[in-house]
Symmetry: C2
Subunit: 451 residues, 2 copies
């Protein structure tokens, strides 16, 4: 039984193809596999949700030994080998692979979530898309210059790959996509701020690539504010702390790309098996990805804590989950055949981060081969298209990208959800017939304590 249809779970499930004697169940609370590396493109209106989400039943439909179960795991009965679901049913297993991924982490400030959404799910992405597009609409509408400036200020917290991709895409939206669409504002006047407490952007990459990325961001109008810590997020913006003192940045749109933690099921696993969790909620596994003392339970992907041969912790990226998924499927098969198994060994095929149009950074073989600019971007494009699961979507994504590249447009610029969002909206006035126009002060109406 496999819990979670992300990269880890899906790659495990598809690695049992020649074992018709095994019965595989994939449990997920969503009916689709989400191609997370492109989620930022949904958040920025370049792709549609269905371009990067593939129904699990379709991906697995020709595996007759595999069934898909829509359900949310709530508990684990490790003694009787049963997984308990939210609807009250219990699913028995012989072997369990747990690949429940990660969630946005606010370092203890969960109240910030409402003001600064993270980017982990389709809903997160459409919510962020909503906020970005809505901010330009409100800037167009308001007559108050301060208000307008607040609507045109976008703060992205976290300068890792996700933060850089979001900030870069925001730069393109402001400079290219929306050009000419408004009458009262010039979208290119938007201020896009990228905040991080590290001293450089893309800190997992080699230093020269960080510098290249920062230059590319500047060309897109993104200003990096580094070496700062966010101490508060509220209705008026963010407060940052640096050695020289605190500063408040007024911004009506804040996006959180600063941290992830393991999804909540890790705690259940730890509680029920006695395993240890690290600070980010990941379960410490043995070199075979097993929960210690439970050779029938594997934890893989973002929810697992494991070190590579050099003693460095494995990063929370898709390739680790994919390789672990394939690896544990192999371990299970070999153990059934009575063959010995080797510990998991991560093969780092390289890292990629896209910044914008024809602009990316890449490194391979540790930091031995470094690429940037157009060539890195073409590599990024190729790799992502190749990994997209279904052919139909690959073609659709390619067409969208080609159009966007040629026309600077973004086809999925929809504000969906509530017709007019409640977030950062003034409370509805008591309907007074024929009330005269009064500019309202949003800040005054939604006071929030500044921490």
């Amino acid at each position: 039984m496999i819990l979670g249809g992300g990269f880890g779970g899906l790659y495990a499930a598809t690695s049992f193809r020649h074992r018709g004697d095994l019965s595989i169940t994939v449990v997920d609370r969503r009916n689709f596999h989400l191609f997370q590396p492109l989620l930022y493109q949904v958040a920025t209106g370049e792709l549609s949700p269905s371009d990067i989400a593939f129904p699990l039943r379709v991906v697995l439909s020709n595996r007759k030994n595999t069934r898909v179960l829509l359900g949310e795991a709530t508990d684990l009965d490790a003694g009787n080998r049963r997984l308990l679901l939210a609807d009250g049913t219990a699913e028995p297993y012989d072997v369990l692979i747990i690949s429940t991924g990660s969630r946005t982490h606010y370092f203890g400030n969960d109240a910030w979530e409402e003001r600064a959404p993270g980017l982990k799910s389709i809903e997160d992405a459409t919510r962020i898309r909503h906020r970005i597009l809505y901010a330009f609409e409100m800037a167009e509408k308001t007559h108050d210059p301060d208000e307008r400036r607040a609507w045109l200020t976008f703060a992205v917290v976290g300068a890792g790959p996700t933060g850089v991709e979001l900030a870069g895409a925001l730069g393109e939206i402001a400079n290219d996509t929306l050009r000419g669409d408004f009458r009262n504002i010039r979208p290119e006047e938007a201020r896009i701020l990228l905040l991080d407490n590290s001293s450089r952007v893309l800190s997992p990459f080699a230093e020269p690539l960080s510098a290249k990325a920062e230059q590319a961001l500047i060309r897109l109008g993104v200003r990096s504010i580094l070496g700062v810590r966010v101490t508060s997020v509220d209705a008026t913006g963010v407060t940052i702390h640096r050695e020289s003192g605190d500063e408040h940045i007024r911004a009506n749109t804040v996006i959180w790309a600063a941290g992830v933690a393991a999804a909540g099921f890790g705690k259940v696993v730890a509680d029920r098996t006695g395993a240890t969790m690290d600070r980010a909620g990941r379960v410490l596994v043995d070199p075979f990805c097993n929960v210690p003392g439970h050779p029938e339970i594997f934890v893989i992907g973002d929810g697992a804590s494991l070190k590579d041969a050099d003693g460095k912790p494995l990063p929370g990226v898709a390739p680790v989950a994919m390789q672990q998924g394939r690896y544990v499927a192999g371990v299970i098969r070999r153990r059934l055949e009575g063959k010995p198994v080797e510990p998991f060994r991560y093969v780092d095929k390289g890292s990629l981060a896209v910044i914008g149009r024809a602009s990316a950074v890449a490194q391979f073989g540790g930091e031995k081969l470094q690429l940037h600019g157009l060539f890195a971007w073409l590599v990024w494009l190729f790799v992502h298209l190749m990994y997209l699961v279904s052919f139909q979507n690959r073609l659709l994504v390619f067409i969208r990208w080609a159009f966007n590249y040629l026309t600077y447009n973004r086809g999925a610029r929809l504000i969906t959800g509530d017709p007019l969002p409640v977030v950062q909206e003034p409370p509805p006035d008591t309907p007074e017939t024929l009330k005269p126009s009064t500019p309202t002060d949003r800040q005054a109406q939604q006071p929030q304590p500044t921490r």
Copy 2:
């Protein structure tokens, strides 16, 4: 000023192209034009929302005399010629074109909306998609045969074009799309019921076409139950009334395609101008689409009540709105030039309704030319692709259709929104650790009075 960016408003806005001296404002509460005729394809997972929704700013960006305002109209100050918006601002106008469209109408039973969503917005469509896909997932999961049958029963209320299109698409989902995706159920066993109080399906069409459509539906596994009135919709399904007595049909998925009424702004117009409304909330306009006594206010599209030359009321379809949009733009231009204007005359170019794969009905010249089957479907395909506003989307839609036709797949089969929906879910059990599996009786948990 144009209120509403649907077919009527958009066609009006784009008809002022050579009048740079006029200043046009399009007000809409959404940031996109929705191509409603294909909305049922979003509801049935064939297309993505962004395939049929086009940002208004993009459609109108090269019209320098036109601005787009995101806002919801709440009131009309006809004396001072001002439109009042929900955010408390007032927008002055010289001439106002009101094209606010229609909404789902439950004939006084608004409580049914929760159980039987209608299909008017992107959110409606993704909600219906959610329910349809979720029903198959629940049927796969349950072990109770009655429960399974209730999840596999789909009742579509209303056998007009929308109801027929939805029922036909449901038939294809059950018979083709989901084939082989499940392990415990056979999706083709789904019961799809099409309910209407008329004596035939597609009653606006010629009788022979109704018969053809009903045959085509039967081949898709859709059962039409005609000459019945729905008297109740509750958690257990629908109750229908026929002369021989009442019958209750247990169905966990009910979709409402039975009626539309004018959007709420019509009432404001009637209140503020003294105009008359008909039973469906539409404003009675004069032959120039003007509100009587207000040559500066036009009402067009689904929100207007007007008769054609034969004294028959104009239908609530997109071509009427498009033609009226172009027409009132012409009236405004001619009046400014001091030229006389002719009353509005609707040119009926024909009617089309699609039933499924390679199956549609069409009539042109009243009922003179009738088509059905593959040829009608190709006409439908061509017409809809031609009317799709942007080239990018037209191509994407074409590719999706081509793939769906060849593979029987549907690329946008996503259950989005809440991770697990609350609708028709049992209330969450008090979490009892290691509680044994107990099938729950959903009916007992969500009692609703049967009318």
